[in-house]
């Protein structure tokens, strides 16, 4: 595949993922509604919400600084880059070398720091409360995520995602016990970082238990729409990273156009399955107290580190 078609493909993938990310959220919500015996709002509901929000006039607090107004765009940019470099369909993306897994974790951290700062900008009680809690979740989730990704890196001797996918998905099939630890840790981080049950409840209306929602209380209209969209992008990015690391089969190799069709079908199936799984997990568990969250994430961190140690002790 030459450079021009590579870039076309890169742009196609990014645009496609950005457009279907709200659908992913709609699908998770719909599955959850079915599991809870409700009829649900339909899988297109997130698009309707976004459209409504974009139409509204933005309301900004008097003392909001430029940082507050820039943050939604920065957040959206970060998440777009994240979904752009994860090998979703094929492993030969021209932008993929711009950031390996460590930089990807750094990218999520950048987004988190900006949204927390924006939460503190207006100076309301809930905003700072949310920012504090978000950073508390973040500082535990970030190293756990990094360690889970390192396990895969150590197996493939590379931190670049396409190489990891190549090594795990396209070579001889081997069962790595360390990847089991990493997968569990990754799942726990995914739940925490995307403000899902049991850490946070995305549909909560009780201010005192909010984490993510408390931070963005002051946002409205297009700013809120971008933040919500970025949140759905983040969920999609996490799920596709998980797919790339733990279920890489089906992702096309470089220059294989027929493989791409298979990859697309595999991707849709995997995403649908992951969304349904997430909904099931959220239906089965209850939200935990905020001070149980460190235990939850500490477990994830330990599991991920154990995974790395297992790799060195058993697999080398």
């Amino acid at each position: 595949m030459n450079v021009a078609s590579g870039i076309v493909f890169q742009v196609l993938q990014s645009v496609l993922v950005v457009l279907i990310a709200p659908l992913m959220l709609g699908w998770v919500n719909q599955c959850r509604a079915w599991l809870q015996n409700r009829s649900g709002a339909g899988i297109w509901q997130p698009y309707k919400v976004l459209n409504k929000l974009f139409h509204k006039d933005a309301v900004l607090a008097y003392n909001a600084s430029p940082l507050f107004r820039c943050t939604p765009y920065i957040l959206f940019g970060c998440m777009w880059l994240a979904v752009g470099i994860v090998p979703v369909l094929a492993t030969d993306l021209p932008f993929a070398p711009a950031a390996d897994v460590i930089a990807l974790v750094g990218l999520f951290a950048l987004a988190r720091v900006f949204i927390s700062l924006a939460g503190m900008d207006v100076g309301t009680s809930f905003g700072t409360l949310g920012a504090r809690r978000e950073m508390m979740i973040g500082f535990l989730a970030e190293p756990a995520l990094l360690m889970a990704l390192f396990t895969a890196s150590l197996i493939s001797h590379s931190t670049s995602l396409p190489t990891i996918v190549d090594a795990l998905g396209h070579r001889q099939f081997v069962i790595y016990p360390s990847m089991a630890f990493a997968a569990i840790a990754f799942l726990m981080v995914l739940l925490a970082e995307n403000a899902r049950i049991p850490i946070d409840n995305p549909s909560t209306h009780l201010e005192l238990t909010m984490i993510h929602e408390a931070m963005i209380l002051e946002y409205s209209a297009r700013h809120l729409a971008l933040i919500e969209w970025a949140a759905s992008l983040k969920l999609t990015a996490y799920i596709t990273i998980g797919i790339a690391m733990f279920l890489p089969w089906g992702i096309a190799r470089a220059g294989d156009w027929f493989g791409l069709l298979i990859a697309l079908a595999a991707l849709v199936a995997k995403l649908a399955l992951a969304g349904a799984g997430l909904a099931l997990l959220e239906t089965l568990s209850a939200k935990m107290r905020i001070f149980r969250a460190p235990e939850f994430l500490g477990t994830a961190f330990l599991l991920a580190t154990l995974g790395m140690l297992t790799h060195f002790l058993l697999e080398v």
Partner: protein
Amino acid sequence: MQPIEAAVTLSVIWIGLGALGLAFARTPRAIVDILFPAGAAVALALALAGLWAMSAPVSTAILPAGLPDLPFHVRLDPLSGFFLLLLGGVSFGISLFSSGYFREHVQGLGLLCVQYHVFLASMAFVLIADDAYLFMVAWESMALSSYFLVTTEHRSEQNRKAGFIYLLIAHLGAISILLSFGVLHGGHGDYTFDALRRAELSGFWATAAFLLAFFGFGAKAGMVPLHVWLPEAHPAAPSPVSALMSGVMLKTAIYGMVRVIYDLIGGIRWEWGLTVLLFGAATSLFGVLFALMQHDLKRLLAYHSVENIGIILIGIGLSMVFIGSGHPVAGALGLIAGLYHTLNHAVFKGLLFLGAGAILKSTGLRNLNEMGGLIRYMPHAALYFLVGALAISALPPLNGFVSEWLTFQASLQAYLLESSVVRSIVPIVAAVLALSGALTGMCFVKVYGIAFLGQHRHQITVRPRDAGGWERAGMLWLALGCLALGLLPVFVIGQLNHVSQMLIKSGLPEAAMASGWLWLAPTASAQASYSPIVFLLVIASVFALTFLLVRQIYHGRLRRSDPWDCGFPEQTSRMEDTADGFGQPIRQIFAPVYLIHREIPRPDDPRPVFRQEVEDRHWRWMYLPIARFAEFLSGHVGKLQQGRISVYLLYSFVTLIALLVFAQ
């Protein structure tokens, strides 16, 4: 002209500028308008000389100074050149800032100018010294001049105490370094570094020299458990001086460590590397955990210096482990990561201390709990501080991230190691590094959110002014440094490769440089790559695109109103989180680490005040017992002093008898 001549001349000019400071003591305007900017110009020239020396052949000279028969030797090689670049580059910004900052500091400005420039010059001499003699002389003048700078505000009891602790630990370190040179010297009578390099040491003595040097330089660098002077001395010193001490002086200790261990001792063993690695990991985690508990901005930054020294030591320790087990290429990667972080920390910590100085000057505040909303009064300082805060939190695409990324890459080379124990320690250290990086992010969200965002927490009588022109210029320089070092890592690594080639005769593989200036790929591009420029460009273009598209398709209408806050009618600044409140989850999670003194108000108190101080446990278990023991000993020795001549005559008499009896 050779680089070494340029470096010596420039350092001497610095001393000369200091001396002029005394001459102009009556005209403080001349000092801030001429001498400090001139010092900045010298710093820039020195940085260029350092850059030149990094790719030039090694140059040496003998100075016509020192004792008769014992002249000073100086030498400029890539390692010294790199650190001169750091010293010059960072102190350029700090001197510019000082020129604005000291404008209102009228009393004793002449003296301050002397101490400041002598401090700079002695750091330069530490970096170019080529014998143990000049090295120790420069090292001591660096310690003394900075001691006087720390106690500039000597009327406050606390500052005098801080200065004393600093001087004490600086001298403990200096003794240890001196002993290390003594061991290295091995009784040949020549203290030039060349002779020390040639000396063949047995295994035991080499390890002794390593340990002495490691703890001696570690004391200056702020390694746990010898870090206690940092959080005392940095808040006491004027802010530009804190920036110099934290940004540059700590780095001379890293220089000394690398110089002695890699160059003078040589023959690195992996056990040494493991020691450095473990101390580094402990230092970084400890530093950030204590930083999170602070509400004094400068104290908080001081604890972050401890943390960053830990990260640098992790890089160097990894490099030593790899070199000691016979993997010089991975060792080069670790060394480059450590040195890169040294430079990065100098730039962003200098910037953050200058930002703290700007806040202190315009509001008189150091306590975060009393700040708030400063972004609305000091937009420039707020912007530069944000750059520094993002850089220290190791967020891409700024510079802190690059060096942490390299350190992670070095730790991922652990599969090369044969010993399975070491191989499993390295990932644990990587986990500690990841944890402390994430905690740093939390800490700087706290600092920035509490100080610059939100509402005011105190009654404003005077509207805080933004930093002035000189101050802005200094901060802008360092902020641009954060950006440049973050965006163009390939150039920096190309230069650092010279240092690594000189020290360990091995650099990064050719493949690392092959992928061009845009892509940073330290081992091979299939293994790991990172391109900060593409990274930034994508985010910036998505930012612009979204901004335009939203306006094009929908609209850009905006209304201002009161904050919503779920409809709560009243929002005072007391309802915001404070710095102590923000650290509360950490306090709860890591409770056993801290020793906390708290004053909690009664529920019916009309003006409730919450106070909290976190004590460093090292005082209790290490320093106080030693102090008590020293006091006990000196109390007993003191009994010898009776103050009566007859007693002293008796001592002489007894000594004489003893000599007659025993010394046949």
